[in-house]
Subunit: 202 residues, 2 copies
């Protein structure tokens, strides 16, 4: 059976939980707390040197880190990952954009709101991350003006990757009501068969 | 013919130039200067809303942004992208890691060294980015202790994605001599048939 090392608070982990629910794939779940620094223990670093969850452990013991790479592995051969060469690259375009232009802004501000205190460097980064987060939500809203889903007219792992932190963006002080196309898309995601909610408070 | 919109100073653009050279694929090259803000003009934003190079324009006019998604599109069906399900996901693991844990530290510090002045928020971010960049180089060096290439014993687009900014890391004030396995891997990359150097100074 697959094993997922994850923290219930993590949107990156929720991506995997959500896809596994859509695929109706059973798995063992092991909690590793980020706020308690359990991702930085020698035991965890021996499993995954980068010290981050989620990590998927395959049946043969192979360790696969990076949420979007795990999504790609699990979705292979399903409708969640189009096999057409261009559509496949377009799914990855949105997933790389998510990791570079969306997650470090929208997810990080949400995470920082969960922390007891920020240092001076983090405080200096808030305005830039907020501006970049607004730009990311606007770009999504513009794309969804003409599309129900991010790629090829059907839900893919690009939607899952983007959904995870977008639907809890208000926890990072973003107002989703300003992005009506994003709100409609969130509702479409939540209406898909097999959908499971994120447990937002650990 | 393929068209690449790019800035010669960009390591993300160099990833594409390097793969196209390895594949011996001809393409039209159009320079868009980042330092002159040519990626933020209405004309460029009409092509790619995210305002970043590189952008690949396919023969039919389809626009594909995000360097690592472009690599994936171009490498499909070649030895640069393994078709095995796990190897494919492992290639993507390293490419997502590059965009999240490597590029924002090592590439950004190099880019900032090219800028005439930094603002207070950027200055506050330098120590954290330097520490994260050191951790990224150490993680690569540790992996390369036991592997000649990042995935499956042969060069893939994971190596290209990581090579682009690693081999010019000294321009961001990192010392590659501290990472001998990384230096050997850089030499292996430079010895591959079809290799072309980056033009590091525009």
């Amino acid at each position: 059976m697959l094993t997922l090392l994850d923290d219930p608070i993590s949107g990156n982990g929720y991506k995997i939980r959500l896809l596994l629910a859509f695929l109706d794939t059973p798995y063992e779940y092991r909690t590793v707390s980020v706020l308690k620094s359990e991702t930085r223990t020698p035991e965890f670093l021996a499993i995954s040197r980068n010290g981050k969850i989620p990590v998927l452990i395959l049946e043969d013991g192979t360790v696969l880190p990076e949420s979007n790479a795990i999504l790609h592995y699990l979705a292979a051969g399903s409708s969640w990952l189009p096999s057409d060469r261009l559509h496949h690259a377009q799914v990855l375009h949105w997933m790389f954009w998510e990791q570079y232009s969306h997650e470090p802004n929208i997810a990080t501000l949400r995470f920082w709101n969960h922390m007891p205190e920020l240092d001076a460097a983090q405080k200096a980064m808030i305005p830039g991350k907020h501006a970049n987060g607004l730009a990311a939500l606007k770009l999504m809203n513009d794309h969804l003006e003409r599309h129900d889903w991010f790629v090829a007219g059907a839900p893919t792992i690009a939607d899952i990757a983007l959904f995870a932190y977008t639907h809890v963006a208000e926890e990072g002080d973003f107002k989703l009501a300003d992005y009506p196309n994003v709100e409609s898309w969130i509702a479409r995601m939540q209406g898909l068969p097999g959908f499971v909610p994120m447990e937002t408070e650990a």
